[in-house]
């Protein structure tokens, strides 16, 4: 008997075998079905998936043998792994390498052996798929091909090809995600429910001016000025749609803190994802220093324009008023009439300036809202009081229809401005000796305000357009009624900024009803929505912590 020499790459071969982590594992159907098929196809009593270990051959799958391993010294397969091709021993009795092998002379009486080497993905020969018979055999080319095919199948199973390809896919997708993380301009910082940073992308390093390795493991609250993890962790539990203090799912403006202690305006969105049963928070932040600066410039510009327009207008309107008022002496009737035109138009110009500045601020979202709980009846009464003198002049009656207890969360000045706009409009278009009903009614979690007139109404195709800037149903309206054409556009901006809707209902010839909704404020005895802590004040710093500074500054400086 001749023992097989060790292959040249024996160490690498053993390492590849160990890497499979398959030795001494239970039999598996995915390999057993191969040996079953081979045994049937070749019509042999014995078929093995034999792996050649350091001192033994071990059978991952076997048909026709009781033992799971034999010593390497007597192994046929140890010979087979020396070559790329199948080792075929047609008759062991006639082969000097094997004729006195104990496996030939004793059980299992190997007379015929054909073993196709099994390679690891790196090419190392791990063992064989072999078929064994008790009588001499020959294999033709087709049978050898089939043995090769079955061996290739076995190799795939051994390398767990599917898993490997899945891992490959995962690696690829991970690389893609990493490339995205590394190329976005936003800082992406993930942290766990213990407040420790888990990962940080290069943009985070740049924005916070700290290397990622110093960020990771550190406290996430150190990145936000004035933040405190105890508070943040409580606020992370709040649902975004129910609380102003919620962090997850709400875009917010905070102050970021760089490593050197300097602070900068940071726009932040935090989301949450469950990963392996624990919670992962993802903070995406953007340094908005430049945007804030350009907003400030725009604010300054608007402030200056407002001042520069109003200052000469004050002198014009003032002098005209004094002359028209007869302060400078008696006037001829024609002069008085012409001066009246000048005064009216100076007033109109003043309103136009106010409205344009107003709508610019509202539509750019830079107007500050001070939202507090307000009873609807107070808002309606205040608005009626303001418009009453004009209504009296036009001989129009104003009436209030407010359901008791209706309370909204809103900015009083802005809502009175909206209601006054709507009532003013109604008064202008209502025929004399008719009445206008101003209503407020709680429906579900909102309060619907309405202003109903019995004027000429609005054509159906104009109902949405009336809220556009400078839109007039009739081109002559603006001048005739002294409006600026911006009142309804401003009303819409105000309502939308409160999270409400505004619309008009009308049948031509039967008057019009303007409606808008505001979020209702729970009345006494009614439970407040979870997570709310008192009246929300938009536009002010949130109570110490990270949260929302909806917007700082804005608007005009004084004159």
């Amino acid at each position: 008997m001749r023992e097989a020499p060790l292959p040249d790459n024996e160490q690498a071969r053993l390492a590849a075998l160990r890497a499979l982590a398959i030795l001494d594992t239970p039999q598996e159907e995915r390999l057993d079905r191969i040996t079953r098929i081979a045994s049937a196809y070749f019509d042999v009593p014995i078929c093995l998936v034999s792996l050649v270990d350091e001192n033994r051959q071990w059978f991952k799958s076997c048909v026709g043998l009781e033992v799971r391993e034999t010593p390497r010294t007597v192994s046929f397969c140890a010979h087979a792994i020396l070559s790329d091709d199948a080792l075929v021993i047609s008759d062991s009795h006639a082969d000097e390498r094997f004729h006195d092998n104990p496996l030939v002379t004793g059980p299992p009486h190997v007379r015929f052996y054909a073993g196709q080497p099994l390679s690891a993905p790196g090419g190392e020969k791990l063992g064989t798929l072999c078929v064994i018979d008790h009588r001499p055999r020959r294999l033709d080319a087709a049978q050898l091909g089939c043995l090769r095919d079955l061996a290739a199948w076995t190799e795939n199973e051994l390398a767990n090809a599917e898993l490997a390809s899945a891992v490959g896919d995962l690696r690829e997708s991970e690389a893609r995600l990493r490339a995205i993380m590394e190329s976005v301009a936003e800082a992406i910082v993930t942290f766990g429910s213990d407040g420790r940073v888990l990962t940080a992308n290069p943009a985070a390093e740049a924005i916070f001016r700290v290397p990622a390795e110093r960020l990771v493991g550190g406290p996430v609250d150190s990145l936000i000025e004035g933040a405190d993890w105890t508070q943040i962790s409580r606020r992370l539990e709040l649902p975004a749609d129910e609380s102003e203090l919620a962090i997850v799912g709400r875009r917010q403006a905070v102050e970021g803190r760089r490593r050197d202690g300097s602070i900068f305006p940071l726009e932040l969105v935090v989301s949450e994802a469950p990963v392996h049963g624990s919670r992962l928070f993802i903070g995406v932040g953007q340094d908005i220093t430049e945007r804030t600066q350009s907003e400030r410039l725009k604010d300054e510009f608007i402030s200056i324009v407002g001042h520069e327009l109003r200052t000469p207008l004050t002198s014009i309107r003032g002098s005209l008023g004094l002359i028209a008022g007869g302060v400078m002496g008696e006037l001829a009737p024609e002069v008085r009439e012409m001066l009246g035109l000048a005064v009216d138009n100076a007033d109109r110009l003043g309103r136009l300036i106010n409205d344009i500045l107003d709508i610019e601020r509202m539509q750019s979202g830079r107007a500050e809202l001070s939202c507090v709980p307000l009873p609807a009846n107070g808002l309606v009464a205040d608005s009626i009081r303001i418009v009453q003198p004009i209504a009296d002049e036009c001989e129009v009656t104003l009436s209030a229809e407010v359901s008791p207890g209706a309370t909204v969360t809103a900015d009083a000045d802005r809502i009175v401005q909206t209601l006054t706009n709507l009532i003013n409009n109604a008064v202008k278009f209502a025929p004399a000796r008719t009445s206008i009903a101003v209503g407020a009614e709680r429906t579900g979690d909102e309060v619907v305000f309405s202003v109903r007139d019995s004027g000429r109404g609005i054509p159906a195709d104009e109902l949405d357009l009336v809220f556009e800037r400078f839109h007039q149903v009739d081109a002559s309206d603006a001048r005739e009624k002294g409006g600026t054409g911006l009142g309804l556009a401003i009303a819409r901006s105000i309502v939308e900024q409160h999270g409400g809707r505004i619309w008009a209902e009308s049948r031509e010839g039967q008057g019009a009803t303007f409606c808008f909704t505001l979020p209702a404020c729970p009345s006494e005895g009614e439970p407040a929505p979870a997570g709310t802590e008192g009246p929300a004040r938009v536009g002010e710093p949130a109570p110490a912590g990270t949260a929302g500074r909806a917007r700082v500054g804005g608007g005009e400086a004084g004159a």
Binding site: R317, G318, L322, A324, V327, E556
Partner: protein
């Protein structure tokens, strides 16, 4: 009841209009100042005054700064100061009033009504 009023505004034209209105319509005696510094000097040398009408936005010493200087001595604490401003929002008025002024009058103003508006604010 009209008396002596210190009118402070850096715009000559606006001072001219306002003083005609306050003198002829309102019956006030007007002393004009064209800057915060001039207002402080006037309060020291031309007082006492019964009221001050003070422009909000002026170069160098603006309205609030002038008010705080005036309150440091030149002007007796019981003399009401009313801001004149091109700011129009009611919420702005509240904030301006918080600076220690008796009230706010918006620009542009109607000169025939200015004295009444002032009287209403001074009446509290």
């Amino acid at each position: 009841m009209p008396g002596r009023l210190l009118l402070v505004d850096d715009e000559d034209d606006i001072r001219a209009v306002a003083s005609v209105s306050l003198e002829r319509v309102g019956g006030w005696t007007i002393v004009q100042a064209s800057s915060g510094a001039a207002a402080i000097a006037a309060a020291q040398s031309d007082g006492p005054f019964d009221a001050v009408l003070l422009d909000f936005m002026m170069p160098e010493l603006d309205g609030p700064a002038t008010l705080s200087r005036l309150r440091q001595g030149p002007l007796s604490p019981d003399v009401p100061v009313v801001f004149l401003t091109a700011k129009v929002q009611a919420s702005d008025r509240a904030r301006l009033a918080g600076l220690g002024a008796a009230g706010v009058i918006a620009k542009p103003f109607d000169p025939m009504r200015l004295p009444d508006e002032l009287a209403r604010i001074l009446a509290g």
